[in-house]
């Protein structure tokens, strides 16, 4: 009982200080609790942002890789098209040369035939000389 009496006397004398200490301690605990809760929320939001950023990075990297591959495919296609075109031009030139040779061989000594061939191509009128 002596201990309780002492406590009672002490409380009666210093109840304002004890109340102040209790209020401060309670406020401090409450503040720390709020701070920890806010920090946990911020950490969770940050983790969510990290997931979002990783997905964005992956999407952009994939897009870039696809663009690179598409560009390479385009260049290859254009090269192939140009090669084909060059080949076709060469074929046409070869056919033209062959046709020229054939005409020269066939009509080198036949001026009338050559004139008729030219007239047939362009719609000219053939005028034969009086001696022929």
């Amino acid at each position: 009982m002596g201990v309780l009496t002492n406590i009672w006397e002490f409380t009666k004398r210093h109840w304002q200080a004890i109340l102040l200490v209790v209020v401060i301690a309670g406020g401090y605990v409450w503040f720390k609790n709020q701070q920890a809760s806010n920090a946990a929320t911020i950490v969770q939001i940050n983790e969510s942002h990290q997931i979002e950023l990783e997905k964005i990075t992956v999407a952009r990297a994939l897009e870039e890789a696809q663009h690179k591959a598409q560009l390479e495919r385009l260049q290859q296609s254009l090269e192939k098209i140009q090669q084909d075109y060059t080949q076709v031009q060469a074929t046409i030139a070869a056919q033209q040369t062959a046709q020229q040779k054939q005409i020269v061989q066939k009509y080198s000594n036949d001026s009338v035939g050559l004139a008729k061939l030219l007239a047939g191509e362009f719609g000219f009128v053939v005028v034969l000389p009086p001696t022929q």
């Binding site: 929320t41 939001i45 969510s48 997931i51 385009l74 254009l78 050559l114 191509e121 009128v125 005028v127």
Partner: protein
């Protein structure tokens, strides 16, 4: 007076009119004349050798093929460019869709997190805490009451 001036103007116009006639000089049909070496040319013109004529004819014959080849080549180039544009846009759209989905997912996650935080802030301590505090306060109050009564006696 007016009639006189009008008549004068009409007469002057008729007197100074110059007739214009169309130029009807005939050009004549295009003519080609075969010539043997040393023969007299029947008209003034250009003499072409057989290889030159052969080249002209062959060039003319190959024009259609050259045009067709050029048109086909250009259509191939256009096709390739269009395919590239479509593929490129498709990649960009797919990436944009993924990014937008990621942003939407992030937004949803944030809503859940903030809702949880809101619930924690608005709701009080759990019932077990209140029960514990009540028990402690009851014990303390009882002890203090007994002690105070004893002090009074």
């Amino acid at each position: 007076m007016k009639r006189f001036i009008s008549s004068l103007l009409v007469i002057s116009v008729l007197a100074t009119a110059v007739p214009a006639f169309a130029d009807d000089t005939p050009i004549g049909p295009p003519v080609v004349a075969p010539l043997d070496k040393g023969a007299i040319a029947p008209f003034t013109g250009v003499l072409l050798s057989p290889p030159a004529i052969a080249q002209i004819i062959a060039e003319r014959d190959s024009v259609a093929a050259r045009i067709a080849a050029a048109v086909y080549h250009q259509s191939q180039v256009d096709d390739a460019n269009r395919r590239f544009d479509i593929d490129s846009l498709m990649s960009t759209c797919t990436a944009d869709k993924s990014i937008l989905q990621a942003q939407v997912d992030d937004g949803k996650r944030q809503v859940v997190i903030l809702n949880d935080q809101l619930k924690k802030s608005t709701s009080g301590p759990p019932a077990t805490l209140w029960i514990g505090l009540g028990a402690v306060a009851g014990v303390a109050l009882t002890v203090l009451t007994v002690f105070a009564v004893n002090q009074v006696k």
